[in-house]
């Protein structure tokens, strides 16, 4: 009986071809990349705020800010990956929540270039944090794709929320949301120093 069972197993499991290492780590990398930007509330609030602020400012900031943030954030991520040290990353992330939240709360309308510089400056801290915390063994390209898509989606959500800015009540709700983001940023700053 044992021989019959063994021979049956042999016939069933005989590997005509072994597809070793096919696409190894790719799905893992993509999922890790998608998950990373949404894994921390400080990141999520800042990225959604960028979209909301862009929606308040209107064209061209509404697309310039979400274009600026991922690119500069990716640059920060690159620095993090390369092991370049950046002081005060957690503080920078927390302050980004405060500043971006206040910008939405106060409907701050600087020149487009200034808003792009503000967003880009803080994007470096967010990107560096992500770049320094990459999981080992995942596919670099797939991680990067997931990472950028998740970030861009958070901006799109922010822009989507910002659509309510066209109504009077919506402007108030948006400003309140900005205030909440700023308060959360203050909490994260306190925690960074605690």
């Amino acid at each position: 009986m044992s021989k019959v069972l063994s021979l049956t197993l042999l016939a069933t499991l005989w590997p005509a071809l072994a597809w070793a290492h096919t696409e190894q780590g790719r799905a893992e990398g993509l999922v890790a990349g998608l998950h990373h930007p949404i894994s921390g509330l400080d990141h999520v609030l800042a990225m959604v705020s960028v979209g909301m602020w862009g929606a308040q400012l209107g064209a061209p900031a509404v697309w310039l800010l979400p274009v600026t943030f991922p690119m500069v954030m990716a640059f920060g991520g690159m620095l993090g990956l390369m092991g370049v040290r950046l002081p005060g990353v957690e503080v920078g992330i927390a302050v980004s929540g405060i500043i971006l939240g206040l910008a939405v709360l106060l409907e701050w309308r600087p020149a487009v270039r200034v808003s792009a510089v503000v967003v880009g400056f803080f994007a470096i801290f967010h990107g560096h944090a992500h770049g320094s915390e990459l999981p080992a063994g995942a596919s670099g390209l797939h991680y990067s794709i997931g990472f950028v898509v998740a970030t861009g989606t958070l901006h799109a959500i922010g822009i989507g929320i910002g659509v309510i800015h066209r109504w009077g009540w919506g402007r108030v709700v948006l400003r309140v949301a900005g205030g909440l983001v700023a308060a959360a940023g203050a909490f994260f700053l306190w925690r960074a120093f605690a």
């Binding site: 044992s2 021989k3 063994s6 021979l7 197993l9 042999l10 499991l13 005989w14 590997p15 005509a16 071809l17 072994a18 597809w19 070793a20 290492h21 096919t22 696409e23 190894q24 790719r26 064209a59 697309w63 979400p66 274009v67 991922p70 690119m71 954030m73 990716a74 640059f75 991520g77 690159m78 620095l79 993090g80 990956l81 390369m82 092991g83 770049g131 990459l134 670099g140 390209l141 797939h142 991680y143 990067s144 794709i145 990472f147 950028v148 898509v149 970030t151 861009g152």
Partner: protein, 198 residues
């Protein structure tokens, strides 16, 4: 033969890999469809082709047509060269540079002349095709796998470039530029990934 001996033989046979195919998708449907799936599931090739199609579409129908009839043939020629002489089947630097340059041009909505886009398509096609050809040879997929890649490439470029050419809404044109910026961002992260300390 004792039961233990039989089990040992079974274990040896089951675990013995007769062929090892590294880094390629196997559909089980033959080399043509392996080539199709390789292109679709390999962002190293798909993203530069997508960026080029977006760029060509941004510059209008003539640029789109030129790219459509320059990129796939160049990819095929590069693939045949790769199958004949290639010694490497991946070049991270090429992927990174392709993403940064092509994504950057899309994000900036660069006003390139159609001839320049044709030249870019030819260069991208030759280089990426060359690497594909080498990979196809290693995977023993032969020319049919390469044809699968090129056929899929043709369809993707035709659909994407044609769609972008017909875009009139300003928000949709901005969405194309945003896609370009995402491709640049991916390229930057990839650059960091490759040069990071071990």
């Amino acid at each position: 033969m004792s039961g233990r001996a039989v089990r040992l033989v079974v274990a040896a046979v089951v675990l013995w890999p007769t062929t090892s195919h590294a880094h390629l998708v196997s559909t089980g449907l033959g080399p043509f469809y392996d080539g199709v799936s390789h292109f679709v599931f390999t962002p190293e090739d798909f993203l530069p082709a997508l960026a080029l199609a977006l760029l060509a579409g941004q510059r209008g129908s003539r640029a789109g047509r030129l790219a459509l009839f320059a990129l796939p043939p160049a990819w095929l020629v590069g693939g045949l060269l790769g199958q004949a002489v290639a010694t490497i089947d991946s070049a991270p630097v090429l992927t990174t540079v392709s993403l940064l340059v092509l994504g950057g041009l899309v994000a900036a909505e660069a006003r390139l002349r159609p001839e320049w886009i044709t030249a870019l398509a030819s260069i991208v096609g030759l280089l990426h095709g060359y690497l594909n050809g080498a990979a196809m040879t290693q995977a023993r997929l032969g020319i049919l796998g390469l044809v699968g890649i090129v056929a899929t490439l043709f369809v993707v470029v035709a659909l994407v470039a044609a769609r972008v050419v017909t875009i009139r809404a300003s928000w949709a044109r901005i969405a194309v530029r945003v896609a370009g910026s995402w491709i640049v961002a991916i390229g930057l992260l990839l650059l960091g990934w490759y040069v990071r300390p071990a």
